[in-house]
């Protein structure tokens, strides 16, 4: 569904993303991990066609992001780091606007807005002006916006930031429920989140891929040395693997 090959992006002398390749199968959830400044957001911006890559290609549903950006953008829902909300609009008029530029037909628009608002629990403040909402509420509006038009691919940049614990669990459940029907790339620094939601993890550090595998394989590969009586060593948590890989 998503094919990234040899992707690089430089800002002048800084190599933000360096030769990154990975694939996400249809219906899969990929956890995208890395310390701050590792190039997660840059990669996601390139995947969604916001930024042009310096080199390498990205294909979404067979369309090249660079050659046919509109076809790709029709199939993608994107939640950037900061929810891209207009603070002077009400939640409803904002969602209506996003639905219309995503090409949701006029007649279906109102129903679609209600559907995503319900899914992300935005219904109780849908008439309010976004500028007056809390960080967590804005985050949910941002998520609602990404779900509009029911895109095949969802790119979520730290979707649970700013939410309270109950909401985090809700959003995780929501994302899990979207799997299968949607292909999801999710970035986060909260490691239990990856364990809870994703099947596969991609860890990058300083723009380079340091690990890319299913969670089970990662844990097996980094398990402690076998003990004398033939038992396998203690199974490391994702946290330990992450720290080991990114500290280098």
């Amino acid at each position: 569904m998503i094919e990234v090959s040899h992707l690089s992006k430089s800002y002048r002398d800084l190599k933000a993303v360096d030769d990154v390749s990975f694939q996400v199968q249809s219906g899969e959830i990929l956890g995208f991990l890395g310390p701050n400044g590792a190039g997660k957001t840059t990669t996601m911006r390139i995947l969604t066609g916001v930024l042009p890559p310096t080199s390498g290609t990205v294909k979404v549903s067979g369309f090249d992001v660079f050659e046919q950006p509109l076809e790709v953008k029709k199939r993608i829902g994107y939640l950037p780091e900061n929810p891209p909300v207009y603070t002077d609009m009400t939640v409803r008029s904002y969602l209506r606007f996003v639905a219309s530029i995503k090409g949701v037909a006029r007649k279906a628009r109102e129903g679609e807005v209600d559907r995503v608002a319900q899914k992300t629990n935005c219904t109780q403040f849908i008439q309010r002006v976004i500028g007056n909402l809390s960080k967590g509420q804005r985050q949910r509006v941002g998520l609602a916006q990404a779900l509009l038009g029911d895109p095949e691919v969802l790119i979520l940049d730290e979707p649970t930031v700013g939410l309270d614990p109950a909401q985090i669990i809700e959003v995780r459940q929501l994302i899990k429920s979207l799997a299968g029907k949607h292909t999801i790339v999710l970035s986060t620094h909260i490691l239990p989140e990856v364990t809870a939601i994703c099947q596969k993890a991609l860890i990058i550090s300083q723009g380079k891929v340091v690990a890319y595998d299913t969670l089970d394989n990662l844990q097996r590969a980094h398990a402690g040395a076998a003990t004398a009586d033939g038992q396998t060593g203690p199974v490391p948590s994702l946290e330990e693997i992450f720290l080991k890989l990114t500290s280098a």
């Binding site: 911006r45 969604t48 066609g49 916001v50 930024l51 042009p52 509109l70 953008k73 029709k74 993608i76 994107y78 950037p80 900061n82 891209p84 909300v85 207009y86 603070t87 002077d88 609009m89 008029s93 606007f97 996003v98 219309s100 530029i101 995503k102 090409g103 002006v129 916006q145």
Partner: protein, 261 residues
């Protein structure tokens, strides 16, 4: 085109949800009314004087278009220089600052649609601003005893000129707004640029020959005068439309270039 309309609708939604448009409407009407009242007073004095001298010939020559509206349109054109920067400053700069431009870049919207949508919204605001001043000819028509009354055809042409002037200013303002993240910077630079297009005309008086021709042609407000007189000059039409085209083209490039920076 549908996307451009959606963006225009969103812009208008924000314009009318925030105080900026209302403040600018009020400002425009307050200053416009001041000029209108002064011109009306001058007209009154002139007609009293001609009556006292019992000069029917002069009285015949006195008409609303030349005595009031031609000068008023010139004044309104100058006030636009002060109003337009504050109307265009947020158009692109705010999207960049709030990072909402990422939403537009990640949805199936082309840079061209973004520019058209924003410009369309700016033009609607311009029409609203100008429409408020229709009050002046309407008032004159209401109280006049002159059988000919207000020449509505000339008034209409005057407004066409004002609209074209405003549209050119808006295109420049839109472009400057697309160059920066700061609304204040956008407003200031737009103001200076628009002011320059006006005051450059003042130097025309001190020059002659080809320089004078060029300077006069560059001055924005001078192109309004043929419209205020109730005529259309192709030269002025070309001037306004080419500034609009240039502004929109440059904005399109700037919006596209922003992603590559």
């Amino acid at each position: 085109m549908k996307n451009a309309f959606a963006i225009a609708k969103k812009e208008l939604n924000i314009y009318f949800a925030t105080p900026i448009a209302y403040v600018m409407f009020t400002l425009f009407v307050v200053i416009g009314s001041y000029f209108f009242l002064r011109l009306l007073g001058a007209y009154e004095q002139a007609s009293l004087m001609y009556m006292r001298f019992n000069s029917p010939e002069m009285m015949n020559r006195l008409n609303f278009q030349d005595a009031i509206f031609r000068a008023l349109f010139g004044n309104l054109g100058v006030i636009l220089i002060f109003v337009v920067p504050f109307l265009t400053m947020r158009l692109v700069a705010e999207e960049k600052k709030q990072k909402t431009i990422e939403l537009l870049y990640s949805t199936p919207v082309t840079p061209g649609q973004i520019v058209w949508g924003k410009y369309l919204a700016a033009l609607v605001i311009l029409v609203c601003t100008l429409a408020l001043t229709l009050l002046y000819p309407a008032l004159v028509q209401l109280v006049t005893k002159d059988p000919n009354g207000v020449e509505w055809r000339s008034i209409f042409l005057g407004y066409t000129g004002l609209f074209l002037l405003g549209a050119a200013y808006m295109a420049l303002g839109l472009f400057i707004s697309s160059l920066t993240e700061s609304q204040v910077v956008a407003a200031l630079i737009t103001f200076v640029v628009l002011l320059m297009t006006w005051i450059i005309g003042w130097t025309a008086a001190e020059t002659e020959g080809a320089t004078r021709e060029v300077v006069t042609y560059l001055s924005s407000v001078s192109h309004l005068d043929s419209f205020s007189k109730g005529t259309v000059d192709l030269k002025d039409l070309v001037y306004f439309l080419s500034i609009c085209a240039l502004g929109l083209f440059a904005t399109h490039r700037a919006v596209e270039a922003h992603r590559w920076s």
